[in-house]
């Protein structure tokens, strides 16, 4: 019929925006499995910033066992290798355009890998990394120093936060959102008050929180706009000899102090399954026991995944 019907179309010359649109439907594993090596124009499409705004590795877990000594997890070498390879290829294709980086709570990133990653996504704005067992102080500090645009961090509870928060305070001028997954004690709160007094969003959901700590947060963090203490196990420690007790509801004092917040997110219902789970797990949520993906939720929209 038409002459043009017999001429093969040049798929390598397909408009780059169309190629990017096609690649947008690929998950990270498909995207890094070799499409970039088909031809140079497809590689260029694979490197488009649109595909790399968020690098979501939350479908990957380490193959690990728990051990009684530091770092308390031992990761199988092959599992490390898979992650290394995936991350390496992603970082190479992303060309420094990654803004959000997400890891699963059972993905134990090694110190070297963290540094390698930080160097290759210097413009990172949001990090979600709930497992720090294998991260050393030097590694995370080096990474923070590179991430000067860091705005939002989701981290596990750590015993000694000052070195970290100081590093953030010194390097990340736009830092404003913090989510801590795990028990949150007075020391952590005091550290935030010292080093990150201008913080705007704080999520402490599903953890254990003492009333005094909550009061000090509400009193001292004057720039705080959003506070999430949903499903937290709230403990009141009255002066001795009165025993500790679990608070069933927030008293007027707390509510008054929290009234200046733009959003004060709470949930303390006995019927709420997350509240029950926090109570059963005594404030240290065992996410692995629950449905896949339930750890990702957060009542604060900018912190949910």
């Amino acid at each position: 019929m038409e002459e043009s019907d017999r001429v093969a179309r040049r798929w390598e010359d397909l408009d780059i925006d169309i190629l990017v649109k096609i690649f947008q439907s690929f998950d990270i594993i498909e995207l890094t499995s070799g499409i970039a090596t088909v031809c140079t124009s497809w590689r260029m499409a694979c490197c488009d910033p649109l595909l790399w705004r968020t690098l979501d590795l939350s479908m990957m877990k380490s193959n690990f066992i728990k051990i009684p000594l530091e770092p308390y997890v031992y990761v199988d070498a092959r599992s490390d290798k898979t992650l290394n390879h995936l991350l390496k290829t992603s970082l190479s294709l992303s060309q420094g355009n990654i803004m959000t980086l997400i890891f699963h709570f059972n993905l134990y990133v090694s110190d070297d890998l963290l540094t390698y990653t930080a160097e290759r996504c210097p413009r990172l704005r949001r990090l979600v990394m709930p497992a720090w067992n294998r991260i050393k102080k030097t590694g995370i500090c080096k990474a923070i120093r590179i991430w000067q645009d860091l705005k939002s961090l989701t981290m596990p509870s750590i015993a000694n936060p000052p070195y970290l928060l100081e590093e953030i305070a010194n390097n990340c001028k736009n830092f404003s959102e913090l989510k801590v997954m795990g028990p949150f004690d007075n020391f952590f709160a005091a550290t935030i008050i010292t080093y990150l007094p201008k913080i705007r969003v704080l999520s402490l959901r599903c953890s254990m929180l003492v009333k005094d700590t909550l009061i000090s947060i509400l009193d001292e963090l004057r720039n705080l706009e959003v506070l999430n203490i949903s499903h937290c196990l709230l403990i009141e420690i009255p002066p001795p000899p009165a025993p500790r007790r679990i608070m069933r509801e927030l008293d007027q004092c707390v509510l008054d102090k929290a009234s200046r917040l733009r959003e004060f997110l709470t949930c303390m219902k006995d019927s709420c399954i997350m509240c029950q789970r926090t109570r059963n797990d005594e404030g240290l949520m065992r996410w692995y026991k629950y449905e896949e993906g339930v750890w990702k939720a957060d009542e604060v929209s900018s912190l949910s995944l």
């Binding site: 397909l14 649109k21 096609i22 439907s25 890094t32 070799g34 031809c39 490390d80 390879h85 070297d112």
Partner: protein, 246 residues
């Protein structure tokens, strides 16, 4: 009934003229814009689309307009099936449909055709993709080598492979590699100029075995073993394992 039966005339690149209902034609944002901002009576030129392709596209638009307006009794599942059959065409036609959907700005059709192509790509290795779409691998040997080398030493730094190969690196980069690697074995290529004493010192501290490829690899005394490993992106990495006096 007046406005619903407004017709729009479209002329294709091969001079075919189609008269279609306005509701169908304005599925294309491009045609909609031209119609609303130009003279509504004259013929709209769609220069980049041929008659055959436009005919197919108009079928698509008509089906979707009718189904949305309830003029046709078709369930979402049936429409989905219809769409799936719509894209069962030869590759050239699919290509042309994508370009036309893009240029005419028909978002749902562009989504449909792009997803079809995505499904043709998924699960295939690069060579298979090239065969399917008749794409020429235009990576020059140098470019591919450069990409491979860039990936290789970085990969090795993370201990991703058992043996680390060092070639064409500056001294400080090399020290960094040896310091950070988790490999137990390091091979330094023949052409690499290296301060052996300083590297050996670093390597000894970390209990890494360092081997240097001799200048002349065909010396009969040298035992060699070749390890070949596919690292999944189609790059094959070769590690030469030489033992020689340092």
């Amino acid at each position: 009934m007046g406005s619903t039966s407004t017709k729009i005339k479209l002329r294709t690149s091969d001079q075919k003229v189609f008269e279609v209902e306005k509701a169908v034609a304005v599925q294309s944002q491009t045609i909609k814009y031209i119609y609303e901002n130009g003279c509504p009576d004259s013929v709209i030129h769609v220069h980049s689309v041929s008659g055959d392709i436009l005919s197919k596209i108009l079928d698509y638009c008509k089906k979707h307009v009718n189904s949305a307006a309830g003029k046709e009794d078709i369930s979402p599942e049936e429409l989905y099936e219809w769409d799936a059959n719509f894209v069962k065409v030869d590759q050239n036609t699919l290509f042309d449909l994508i370009l036309a959907a893009n240029c005419l700005k028909i978002e749902s059709l562009l989504d449909l055709t792009c997803q079809t192509v995505a499904n043709m790509i998924k699960g295939k290795r690069p060579e298979e993709i090239r065969t399917t779409f008749n794409i020429k691998n235009d990576y020059t040997i140098e470019a591919e080598e450069a990409v491979r080398r860039e990936n290789k030493w970085a990969f090795d730094m993370l201990g991703g492979v058992g043996t680390m190969v060092i070639e064409e690196l500056a001294d400080d980069t090399m020290s960094k590699c040896v310091t950070n690697t988790k490999s137990r074995v390091c091979v330094i290529a023949a052409n690499q100029i290296v301060m052996m004493r300083s590297i050996s010192k670093l390597a000894n501290k970390k209990s890494i075995d360092v081997y240097k490829q001799p200048q002349n690899p065909t010396t009969p005394r040298i035992k060699e073993s070749v390890k070949q490993r596919n690292v999944g992106t189609g790059f094959i990495e070769l590690f030469f394992h030489f033992k020689c006096k340092m």
